[in-house]
């Protein structure tokens, strides 16, 4: 492949963009709308992309900026979301060393946005802390601390004791980032 037009490479980054969007919006149609807005914005700003730099990080940055700017616009609408989320997991889940995916998901959704984002970028997305810090426009230490607080909070919400095994039990049950609400 020639070092060509980054526009031709966008398609390769769609799956991770969708996964990141899903972790932020927690809802698949909103996630896909966010990805669409991201691509459209990227397209008109491609002259600002420096060839040879990390295209995925550039696209992720646009995605998160779009997400936060949309959210600011409709903050009033979602003001109650935290309360609703908090009600979602009233008790520590009982588990026998195996973690039900739905419990992991419920716990993950309760984290503040910036902790979810840090965890997805560095915990799952494979970005270095430095890259994640740059993408989020904050200091390296801030990203580390968000990720660590997110991990600790997850462990706490899931009632995990240190040293306890807790791998997700069943691939078939995995749906944390991909679940759709029931059809109405």
């Amino acid at each position: 492949m020639t070092v060509g037009d980054p526009r031709e490479e966008v398609i390769q980054h769609l799956p991770p963009l969708r996964a990141f969007a899903m972790s932020l919006t927690q809802e698949s149609s909103a996630a896909d709308d966010l990805v669409q807005d991201t691509i459209e914005k990227a397209w008109i700003n491609f002259d600002k992309f420096e060839p040879g730099t990390n295209l995925r990080a550039w696209l992720f940055t646009i995605l998160r900026n779009t997400f936060y700017s949309d959210r600011r616009k409709r903050r009033r609408e979602v003001a109650d979301v935290d309360g609703a989320h908090a009600a979602g997991l009233a008790e520590k889940p009982a588990h026998d060393g195996r973690l039900a995916m739905r419990d992991f998901r419920a716990a993950f959704q309760q984290l503040p946005d910036e902790q979810r984002e840090a965890l997805i970028l560095v915990g799952a997305g494979g970005f270095a802390y430095e890259e994640a810090a740059e993408m989020c426009g904050c200091a390296l230490g801030t990203i580390k601390s968000r990720a660590n607080r997110g991990r600790r909070r997850l462990a706490e919400l899931l009632g995990l004791e240190e040293g306890e095994e807790m791998l997700i039990e069943d691939r078939a049950a995995v749906g944390v980032l991909s679940s759709k609400p029931p059809a109405t």
Partner: protein
């Protein structure tokens, strides 16, 4: 007192679970709308090529 080893073990497992969750979305098929979007954007570029 919590042992550091144990704590880091829990954190590693949290990350392993995060990766599973993320992977699940990565493996989904890309919805048709994105193919169409990219084609539309490329067409717009070629029809609007003022250099």
């Amino acid at each position: 007192m919590v042992k550091d080893d144990d704590r880091s073990q829990v954190m590693k497992q949290i990350d392993a679970n995060l990766r599973k969750v993320y992977q699940e979305t990565l493996e989904q098929e890309i919805p048709e709308r994105f193919q169409q979007l990219l084609e539309r954007l490329k067409e717009r570029d070629s029809g609007d090529d003022r250099g």
